[in-house]
């Protein structure tokens, strides 16, 4: 496996969806190729860093507006209206 071939399969490897046989090959390449190992590690850290990004709180006035809109629309649509 070449570095470029490894690069093409990076998604599958990082997401854990790679075929086991290819995974083995992938790891064998990384064991002998420090740059690829670091790139994979960088990519993992990049995803972790973005995932842990801040939570956006709902502005309070909007929270109230949303509740009111949901209630109003619910009355209009009335889903799951069961025949008694």
């Amino acid at each position: 496996m070449k570095c470029s071939e490894l690069l093409a399969m990076l998604n599958e490897y990082v997401d854990g969806t790679v075929d086991p046989a290819i995974c083995e090959e992938f790891e064998r390449h990384m064991a002998g190729c420090n740059p690829c190992q670091v790139v994979v590690d960088n990519i993992r850290n990049t995803i972790i860093l973005y995932k842990g990004n801040e939570v956006h709180e709902l502005p309070i006035p909007f929270q109230k507006k949303l509740h009111a809109a949901v209630r109003k629309h619910w009355q209009e649509v009335c889903p799951g209206d069961k025949p008694e």
Binding site: N34, H67, V70
Partner: protein
């Protein structure tokens, strides 16, 4: 007002109750998911007003389509799950998030897809004004199959947990994300930040799974490159491997 006995209910139960016409159950679901929907809308649209609009649209649309929600998650390899018929017990596993999407329940993923589509509409409207077509931008153009090779390769000086605490790192993250073009940014946000599967991301954006995969890889590589130039330790920089000898 929300019924206090509902608070303890599992998400699958709440969804079932809401599908049977129980408004308090739907209100709890709204409270549980609103910040998440708002977050993705805000990250995609970068405008508070638009994000609020999209959030509201998402929940109103969810009310209309609630009956069609089957609790099925189109995921990355995971077997599709369905809510068992009403009255059947053993629904404990229904709230288990997909392993590729920590914290995202099936109902949550469904809402995020609705939100992404609503946000896309807002972008399309903006584009009409700017006279460029997003649909054109969402096509994979010639030469895009070619992957950029990593250039700056170095271990980071600190672990993500520590980095995430620093304000200037959060600015760097925002800046790097803004430097991606729209199509790559949307895919990265939905897949990696919000935890949708490849298929869900493709469905939300109306793209093929292959298109999403190529774009996701390019987005990840570009972000890696940019972050590593700032966060990487220059003293431990490595040169890309030279294959001329092998």
């Amino acid at each position: 007002m929300s019924n206090p006995t509902h608070i303890e209910q599992s998400e699958a139960d709440l969804v079932r109750l809401a599908q049977q016409g129980d408004l308090p159950a739907f209100e709890i679901l709204t409270d549980r998911h609103a910040h998440r929907v708002y977050g993705v809308a805000l990250r995609i649209l970068r405008n508070v007003h638009d994000a609020e609009d999209v959030t509201q649209q998402t929940f109103l649309s969810a009310i209309e389509h609630l009956a069609a929600f089957r609790g099925r998650r189109s995921g990355s390899g995971a077997a599709p799950l369905e809510f068992p018929p009403v009255g059947e017990s053993g629904a404990a596993s229904q709230d288990q998030p997909d392993e590729s999407a920590p914290g995202t329940t099936m109902f949550g993923a469904w809402l995020l897809k609705i939100a992404a589509r609503a946000a896309l509409k807002v972008i399309r409207k903006r584009r009409t004004v700017e006279m460029t077509s997003l649909d054109e931008a969402l096509e994979v153009g010639p030469g895009e199959e070619h992957l950029p090779h990593p250039e700056f390769i170095a271990d980071w000086r600190q672990v993500p947990d520590v980095l995430a605490q620093r304000a200037e790192v959060r600015e760097l993250l925002d800046r790097a994300l803004e430097n991606l073009d729209e199509k790559h940014r949307l895919i990265f946000l939905l897949r990696d930040v919000e935890g949708l599967s490849i298929r869900e991301t493709a469905e939300a954006l109306g793209l093929s799974e292959g298109n999403v995969k190529v774009r996701l890889l390019r987005a990840r590589l570009q972000l890696r490159e940019e972050l590593t130039r700032t966060l990487g330790d220059p003293e431990r920089q490595l040169r890309p491997h030279d294959h001329s000898s092998t």
